[in-house]
């Protein structure tokens, strides 16, 4: 990567794997459980978080020297809230059908621990360019897990991907359903997301032993 120095590239690449906000820091679990029953919702949520966290980190980083530290949480909240409202309005304007099902969850981005966590831990102490990279990196790391979980949950739970029936029609009994296969209702309910995230963490740690904490 000639575009970025090695240090800058690590800001983006680290959160994708070895410092992933969901699987390593275990942040942002709530939305990972709530919205991953469908792949489409996972993708839209990921894009929204990439926007909010990327822009939010830059804004906070620019203001970092003028925010009085006593009220910094409130300032951070206002920044997130503003950005979330922008996302919500854009969705309403350009993808109304989608926004009807997603607006509840988009509103919940405000409570996503990853965002406040990165503001506190990174943007308050670093310049705008670094903060931007860090925000994008963490949001991508979040999005990757969301999409993996959403993929398995939608495929096994509903037999579709992006709403497109890939395994056949369960009512007409075509495709895989002709052999007696049935959708797994367990994957639709939120506890399944917890288990899928758990399995991802398990796979990740058995591939990279350095991630395992001392007992």
């Amino acid at each position: 990567m000639a575009l970025l120095s090695k240090k800058d590239a690590n800001l983006i690449l680290d959160p994708l794997a070895d410092n992933n906000p969901i699987t390593i820091q275990v942040l942002g679990i709530c939305s990972a459980l709530a919205i991953t029953a469908e792949l489409k919702a996972s993708v839209v949520m990921s894009i929204a978080v990439i926007f909010v966290l990327g822009v939010g980190n830059v804004v906070i980083s620019l203001m970092r020297n003028i925010i009085p530290s006593k009220i910094r949480i409130i300032v951070q909240l206002i920044v997130v809230a503003t950005l979330v409202i922008i996302v919500d309005q854009v969705l309403k304007a350009f993808a109304y059908e989608l926004s009807k099902t997603l607006s509840v969850f988009v509103g919940l981005i405000i409570t996503n621990c990853i965002i406040m966590g990165r503001f506190e831990a990174f943007a308050l102490g670093n310049g705008p360019w670094k903060s931007f990279l860090d925000g994008i990196g963490n949001a991508l790391g979040y999005g990757v897990i969301l999409i993996i979980v959403g993929f398995f949950r939608e495929l096994l739970g509903s037999g579709t991907l992006f709403g497109f029936p890939v395994l056949g029609d369960p009512i007409e009994k075509t495709g895989l359903y002709a052999t007696g296969y049935e959708n797994n209702g367990f994957m639709i309910i939120p506890p399944a997301a917890l288990i899928v995230v758990g399995i991802i963490i398990w796979v990740q740690r058995s591939r990279n032993k350095a991630l395992i904490e001392e007992a």
């Binding site: 007696g180 296969y181 049935e182 797994n184 209702g185 367990f186 309910i189 288990i195 758990g198």
Partner: protein
């Protein structure tokens, strides 16, 4: 010597290799190992894990055999009508029932053991430890607590899930929080509810028949409604017309494969208590808990707090002691709640743990909107709470003894001053 010697040589050949646990497991499964322990002092006891597991399996065998005959009996009775004057040998223990039961129940047993042991072997090889005996009992319990027509691939997936997520991720046999057999059943229940509830799945052939009817065949539908199913729909009269109390107790009713016969479960339970494998405290307190909840519900009906248009009315009105002889309550209490790994360890804890299992089972049974049974949910819930119960029992005991120590007069008591000193040191 032949085979044994050959197995031993194979074992030595693969010692320290990756596949060693697999060879060791086969060897100890077939023969007594010929190594002896070296050095140190050891206590040799016959009641090792393998013996414990085998005893539980012995207690389960009557239920399995009964389940095989009952599968056939329910199927043919649903087709041809229930016999007028029931005679055990003429209508129940005959070849037709046995053959049909064996062809439907034995595949469940084979899949359960086959898939479960494959998973155990894989984990033993990866982790490099001995293959554990833990699956022996689970593999036997699983086919007994599912409906007879459960598709085999669903059972296979559920077994993989139950063994991996329910047991291996926590560190294998002895480390699991939840009972693996019940984890498997819970997975099946939430993943494929249409195959685990309703009035069709409990009798072999009923689902197939209803599909044929839906496709236009001119046949009579088979109903395999359970006792609790009738009650949940408010058809108490119909239920009593179909089943009498003796049938419920002996187990000639539809239900999961091995859970119907309270008599045989009772015998199995007595056998486990007699051999000191299972805790009588848990069994007794669970029965008391179930009766207590049943009495409360009966009292609510008696007091007129609930009207007969309520959907819970018939289940609540069901006599409190009859809860023990229908559904999976007896089987759950005797074989699942007493699991020594997932249950409470302290004696006082066992009373609390058992009581709550019985109490919550009947509560869920009455209030569960989707399915009039809740034993497996109650036991899983209490499995989670068992360590908490034990913690408070132990802490309570510590507190009690500290108090006793504080008030104790400590001898020898020469002067006031030295007694004080001594007390301060001990406390």
């Amino acid at each position: 010597m032949g085979l044994k010697q050959k197995m031993h040589e194979l074992k030595l050949k693969y010692q320290g290799k990756k596949m060693a646990p697999a060879f060791n497991a086969f060897h100890t499964f077939l023969f007594t190992p010929d190594e002896t322990t070296h050095g140190g002092t050891h206590v040799k006891a016959v009641d090792d894990l393998k013996r414990t597991m085998n005893t539980v399996i012995m207690a389960l065998v009557p239920c399995l055999i009964f389940g095989i005959f009952n599968a056939g009996y329910q199927h043919y009775s649903a087709l041809n009508g229930f016999p007028e004057n029931f005679s055990l040998f003429e209508h129940f223990i005959n070849w037709d029932n046995f053959i049909l039961g064996a062809t439907t129940v034995l595949p469940l047993v084979i899949v359960s053991y086959g898939i479960g042991l494959i998973v155990e072997f894989i984990f033993a090889v990866i982790k490099g430890h001995e293959v554990e005996e833990g699956y022996l009992v689970t593999g036997m319990l699983v086919p007994l607590i599912v409906p007879v027509d459960t598709p085999l691939w669903m059972l296979a997936i559920a077994v993989v899930f139950g063994v991996v997520i329910g047991k291996e991720v926590f560190g294998g046999t002895g480390m699991n929080i939840l009972n693996p057999a019940l984890t498997i059943r819970a997975f099946l229940f939430f993943a494929y509810p249409t195959w685990m509830s309703g009035d069709k799945v409990w009798v072999h052939g009923a689902v197939e028949r209803s599909n044929e009817i839906a496709a236009g065949a001119n046949l009579d539908a088979i109903s395999g409604e359970t006792v609790l199913g009738f009650l949940a729909q408010g058809n108490t009269q119909e239920m009593y017309a179909k089943f009498d109390l003796a049938e419920m107790f002996y187990g000639f009713i539809p239900g999961s494969v091995g859970e119907t016969s309270t008599l045989l479960i009772l015998l199995g339970g007595l056998f486990l208590i007699f051999t000191k494998i299972a805790s009588w405290r848990i069994m007794l307190s669970a029965v008391v808990g179930a009766l207590a909840m049943g009495l409360i519900f009966n009292g609510v009906v008696e007091a007129g707090w609930i009207q007969d248009y309520s959907k819970f009315y018939e289940l609540m009105r069901f006599d409190f002691w009859k809860h023990l002889i229908v559904g999976g309550l007896a089987f759950g209490i005797v074989f699942m709640a007493t699991d020594p790994v997932t249950g409470s360890q302290t004696n006082k804890g066992k009373w609390i743990y058992g009581f709550l299992i019985g109490f919550i089972s009947v509560m869920i049974r009455v209030f569960n909107p989707g399915y009039p049974e809740g034993v497996f949910l109650a036991i899983l819930l209490m499995n989670v709470f068992a360590p908490t119960i034990d913690h408070y029992v132990v802490q309570g005991n510590v507190k009690k003894r500290m108090k006793r120590l504080k008030n104790a007069t400590i001898y020898p008591k020469t002067t006031e001053g030295s007694a004080e000193e001594l007390k301060a040191e001990t406390v």
